[in-house]
Amino acid sequence: MENKNLFQNLYLKQFNESNAIAYSQGFVSSSSNYNFQLLDNAYRNAGKTYAKLKIAIETNNCMSEDCALELTGIKNLEESPQASLDFLSLLISQLSVTEESNFDPNNNYKYTVANGLMKARPGFSKTDGYQAYLDLLPDGSQQISFMGPAFTKTMPDPYDPRFSIQVEDPLVVNNSSLRALIGSDTSLVVSTPDINKDMLRLLTEIGLFAQDMIGENGELRANAKITEEYVMMNTDGSFDYEIIDLGNGKGRNVLKYDLEKIEKKVTPFINAEVAGLMSSEQDVIAAWNVYISKDTSVEEDDQMAQNANAGDASWIYELDLPLQQDKKVLFEIKYKEYFMKNYLKQFTTNQLPTVKEDAAVFDLAEAKKAKAQKFLDDNDLN
């Protein structure tokens, strides 16, 4: 299934970040009109309406019994300026999520366009065919409508079903609905959790590192090492090293870790972290789409122009919410893998011995000979 949101959002992101508009002679040479005048237009007739209602009440010429409707109308109008300001600020706070660096492109792209329009970004002006209206509705609520080239949908041509046509499909947001949504801890546009920050913090919470390995910023110090409790030991209490080949006949000891024990230790903390994320399933989908599904390393992510995204493996907000149990389980498994592979692994591989003499580079052939001799000695095979 073609994921229109993914393509449109990635296109818009790239468009904004590329500065390509600066090289569009058409744009540079023409004026752009961003005077949507949302409030001015919404309240243009409000004064007259307010006056009519007031007069009707004062002259006892109400249309409704006991002037109930007129009084409600007056009340709504008196409250509406504050409501408009609240509505617009709440809407902008939601739309601005589309500008975040780890924004999930699987969100509805129309919100990205609406944000561009509200922030007067190049390409979303009245001149470009966009329009926005704020309407005061009779029930006291308000709605904002965005229209323009990006707010269309494809429909079969009613005259010839073999073809399709683009029809207007405005983005309409009602203030009472938006308030209710936010009130229930649900976002119109989901902000992707900062998994990198979460996992760096998680490293300090899993109990593998001593307290003095944690810096004042709450993250692990550069020289942090997993405590010796998780390092493999020989029966005589010495470290059980793994020898790595450095080339040119030279080798070096590195610590071996009890990965099973480590996994057992960290799993409850990872599960708790995932449970925390599950408090908002839309956050889980965003984290999945942007980070977890591909389990790419942070280094790889940093090298990419944008964060990795799940592509075809994306979970779709409109289809996958509420999350089914199998997806929750899959998320938990992959989250753990992501953490182990991209954050914990660096502390369990190529760690030099803490015993100074054991940390020196040595001759591999001699080490092998010594190891063989030790085996013979230990097993009384001389």
């Binding site: 005077n35 949302l38 601005s96 925390g276």
Partner: protein
């Protein structure tokens, strides 16, 4: 705030500025609220899925069963004492024999009836003596049996007391071990809970503070818009 963006919103420039300022605060407030919810869920999960703490005293069993009550094996050695009637019977037989011999002699010597009567009385007296002897012996036996029974009861009681003492001391030990075990489990759980609670509570506190700060920022931004709002309201009134 550029005039271009002011044009989008319309109204006075301070309105657009206030809306954007308020929206940023709202965003922070929402993020802090989400963070608080996430931390709360995480804390709940940590609490609900804590690893089991073992009770080191769990394997302790009640050893009082090892103590055997021996009282059932005790018996009264005097319970079945028999009366030694053999000698008495012999004495009676001897008396009867002597009486028969004497009677024969009396008959042979042509003795009178008076002698026979005296003899019979002597025999009776002898038998009475025998009966008294048996009775005395029986009484002695009865006394011994009673004394034995008393001793048995005393020993049984002593054994019962010993058993009760063992059971009580063992039960006490078990209870003390149980209490110590529970104290250990409680102590461990408490320590761990406190660590987790302290850490997450601190984070929760920070997120609440962030939420409250964002709320204040929002209020402040909205307050800044009030002048502009009154402008709109004034326009309405002007329309009237």
């Amino acid at each position: 705030m550029s005039m271009v963006v002011v044009g989008v919103i319309g109204g006075a420039a301070s309105i657009a500025g206030g809306i954007f300022g308020s929206s940023a605060a709202k965003k922070r407030e929402e993020a802090a609220r989400k963070e608080r919810k996430r931390l709360q869920n995480k804390l709940n999960t940590l609490e609900a899925n804590r690893q089991e703490i073992i009770n080191p005293y769990e394997g302790i069993t009640n050893l009082s069963e090892l103590a055997t009550n021996l009282s059932s094996q005790m018996s009264n050695p005097f319970a079945n004492l028999s009366v030694a009637t053999g000698a008495a019977e012999m004495k009676i037989e001897e008396a009867d024999l002597a009486l028969a011999n004497t009677l024969d002699t009396i008959r042979a010597t042509g003795g009178g009836a008076g002698g026979a009567t005296a003899l019979a009385q002597a025999a009776l007296k002898s038998k009475k003596g025998v009966a008294a002897s048996i009775e005395m012996q029986e009484k002695q036996n009865e006394d011994k049996r009673a004394a034995g029974e008393q001793q048995l009861q005393d020993k049984r009681l002593a054994e019962e007391k010993r058993m009760q003492g063992i059971a009580m001391s063992e039960g006490q030990r078990m209870q003390q071990a149980d209490v110590a075990g529970k104290q250990f489990v409680f102590g461990q759980t408490e320590n761990r809970q406190m660590q987790e609670l302290d850490r997450t509570a601190a984070m929760l506190g920070a997120s609440r503070q962030a939420e409250a700060q964002a709320g204040m920022d929002k209020t402040s931004a909205i307050t800044g818009m009030l002048g502009s709002i009154s402008g709109i309201a004034g326009a309405m009134a002007g329309g009237a």
